[in-house]
């Protein structure tokens, strides 16, 4: 658990740093569409992760309900 926490912290730190440098490199005020696609991909990934978890919960509840129906 402790090791996982450190790895997670390191990853977040790394990504924060790299995104900060990426901003200063582009230099102008125009939004670079390439980077925006990355943001969208991240949002979609997070969202699909949550949705897949909901699907898993849904399936688990269905299993329990079927067990109750069969065995009471």
């Amino acid at each position: 658990m402790k090791v996982q926490n450190w790895i997670l912290t390191a990853l977040i730190f790394f990504f924060t740093l790299s995104s900060a440098t990426a901003q200063s490199n582009s230099g102008d005020f125009m939004r670079s569409m390439g980077k925006m696609y990355v943001v969208v991909a991240v949002i979609v990934a997070v969202f699909m992760g949550i949705v897949l978890f909901l699907v898993f919960l849904d399936r688990r509840l269905t299993k329990i309900e079927n067990q109750i129906k069969d065995h009471g």
Binding site: F29, M33, I43, V44, I64, E65, I68
Partner: protein
């Protein structure tokens, strides 16, 4: 309702709608706009060079078709005498302010309008304040050059509005305002189930009321959080005890107390009955708290306290394309989560009771 919870099509629909909202909400570009005009004040009878900064603009590519005006109203417009493009988002415009203004105010505000064939037309209201020491309305009208602002270019393609201070955060409309509307729908459904329970004491109505209230509270909490994050970068602070923030917090606390109330009654029938009554009261309190009170006094929040409503002017047809699906998507997703909570409550009841709830 209960046949529906086993079906999957509406759950998938909610997910797909939200995916569309995320993609469109983030990828559609903002309309080119004007972020800064310096200097912002001058006097009559002067020559001034305004430094104008744009957003999402292409001034350098549109050098030949650049036109800039300062505009008092539809009748009194002054064109720039010289335009120097410094970069894609930087341009200088020289103006000759006459000795008198066609206005009887000491300080008159002007909007700045930019037009070119790539970016279309953009306006920044109150860009320039001109002070006139001697007011002579008649003289002002005579000496005004009366330039025309015609044939403004239309921007091709779908864009979201550009607003001062907001900038890209206008996209938060899809992720903050939509949560509140979805919450209203969910709380309405929860109240309906509470009323149903009071009329016919079926346990499942109580389970639904509790499940929907849980999800509604989740939506409201997220709405408050997203609002605070947005406020930090537009109002200056996460929490400013603004009336809308305050009354919404109270409304959510009232709903939170619903769960505390439930816990305090060990007898299930009593728990269900009292919490149903409380739930109805909580919803009735919601309306004046969130919609009426904030409009009665000063507020930073759009739509309240004298501010123009975010809905009419800023939610234009392009934003509506993403906003209404967002509300539907969040509502469907919330119903899915509520259905999972409901099914859990039914199973729990089966574990503890002699007579389980029949669907």
């Amino acid at each position: 309702m209960d046949r529906l919870i086993k079906k999957n099509w509406w759950k998938a629909l909610g997910v797909l709608i939200l995916l569309y909202v995320f993609v469109m909400g983030m990828l559609v570009p903002l309309k080119p706009g004007i972020t800064q005009v310096t200097p912002s004040a001058t006097r009559t009878n002067s020559q001034i060079v305004l430094d104008v900064q744009g957003y999402n603009t292409h001034f350098d590519e549109a050098k030949d078709t650049m036109r800039i005006w300062i505009k008092m109203d539809d009748e009194y417009i002054l064109a720039a005498t010289r335009i120097t493009v410094k970069g894609p988002t930087q341009v200088e415009a020289a103006f000759e302010i006459p000795a008198y203004l066609p206005s009887d105010r000491r300080v008159q505000d002007f909007a700045l309008v930019i037009d070119n064939h790539i970016d279309g037309a953009a306006v920044r209201p109150n860009a320039l304040l001109v002070t006139q020491d001697s007011i002579d309305l008649a003289m002002g009208q005579t000496v005004w050059r009366s330039d025309r602002m015609e044939n403004l270019h239309q921007l091709k393609g779908i864009t979201f509005p550009f607003r001062n201070i907001l900038g890209e955060t206008i996209r938060n409309t899809y992720f903050h305002v939509s949560l509140w509307l979805a919450m209203m729908i969910i709380f309405t459904a929860s109240m309906v189930y509470s009323i149903k329970y009071l009329r016919k004491q079926e346990r499942r109505f109580d389970h639904w009321a509790a499940a929907l209230t849980t999800v509604g509270l989740l939506l409201g909490g997220l709405g408050l959080l997203t609002g605070a994050i947005w406020a930090e970068y537009t109002w200056g602070k996460f929490w400013s005890w603004d009336i809308k923030q305050f009354t919404t917090l109270i409304a959510l606390l009232i709903y939170f107390a619903y769960f505390v109330l439930r816990r305090s009654f060990p007898d299930e029938a009593q728990q269900a009955r009292i919490s149903a009554v409380y739930n109805i009261f909580a919803f009735v309190a919601l309306i004046p708290l969130i919609y009426v009170l904030p409009r009665l006094t000063d507020s930073l929040h759009p739509g309240n306290g004298g501010n123009p409503a975010f809905g009419s002017e800023d939610l234009d047809s392009t934003m509506r394309m993403v906003f209404y699906p967002a509300v539907i998507g969040w509502t469907l997703l919330s119903c899915w989560i509520a259905s999972l909570l409901y099914r859990t409550a039914v199973i729990e009841e089966h574990l503890w009771d002699e007579e389980p709830t029949h669907d």
